[in-house]
Amino acid sequence: MQLDVFSVFCETADHKGILFYYSGNLSQNVVAAMGDALKLRLEEWGAKGGMARKLFSGFIEMMQNAVQYSPGYPDPSGDKIGTIAISKHYDKHYIVCGNLIKKENIFRIQEKLEALKNMSLEEIKLAYRTQLKNEDHDKDALSKGAGLGFLTLARDSSEPMEYMITDVLDHAELAVFFLKTTI
């Protein structure tokens, strides 16, 4: 990379209010290390308790979703990869994340997110409470957590979550899943 290109990249990121950006391999160790770095940055920005907590929580839920569910990149190394950014525009913060998913899971993801889009905060909180007490969740073979990830993100988002799914060139079985929350 030419330094002038990099300089423009940095300037653009700064101008667009990007506070935190990562693109690369994903694992629990990477998530924990980034989590520590993010906490320090949140302190530097003077994010207040509730705001800092929601940004940190959103970051962890999205990253752990990516670690748990995204298939490894088919070539060359098979590692899991993903991208995350936190940005600020006036008094709003945005968390955006992109990672690979299997195409066969698109319907399941869409179904969950479309349902959440049409729910009020009260309804989201009620659904969260119901799922928290759901003793049958173990029977959901596809879930690797508590079934609370999207609900937690939706609960903390001040605007309906947005998502987008795009194709992956040369890999018909894969798609890229993008998610955005507002804090």
Partner: protein
């Protein structure tokens, strides 16, 4: 009974169950890669202790500042276990719930537990964060 201790890591909390003195302490952050796997030995040890304990004063000192969604589910199960035991073994279980005054999420979770588990006594203790 052997006391139970787990050291904190970047993504998992410190757990100190002083069974001899009936003081159960958990502090830090909980977002391990696999919450079920992480909490399994905690729940097993806690369960053994509770089975063998009755008509006691038990203090739960809760100092977690962050827990992810999968850990939240496990914590809900733990408090369910305590609640059942308070009733069946006539233990008086007091939960000292420490939380950051500015962080509603931790306090809200306490309120939910309070609603779900009537045999537990919850005392909320707000602290002012450094920033």
């Amino acid at each position: 009974m052997n006391n139970f201790y787990i050291k904190a890591t970047a993504d998992s909390p410190e757990v100190n169950f002083d069974f001899d003195n009936h003081i159960l302490h958990i502090a830090g952050e909980a977002y391990p890669e696999n919450a079920v796997k992480f909490f399994y030995p905690i729940i097993t040890n806690l369960n053994n202790y509770l089975q063998a304990t009755s008509e006691r004063e038990i203090a739960v000192n809760f100092h977690l500042i962050y827990f992810n969604s999968a850990s939240t589910k496990m914590l809900h199960s733990i408090f369910g276990l305590l609640n059942k035991n308070a009733q069946s073994n006539m233990n008086h279980i007091v939960v000292n719930w420490h939380h950051d005054e500015e962080d509603d999420t931790v306090l809200e979770f306490c309120m939910e537990l309070k609603e779900d588990f009537h045999w537990l006594e919850f005392i909320t203790i707000g602290t002012i964060s450094a920033h």
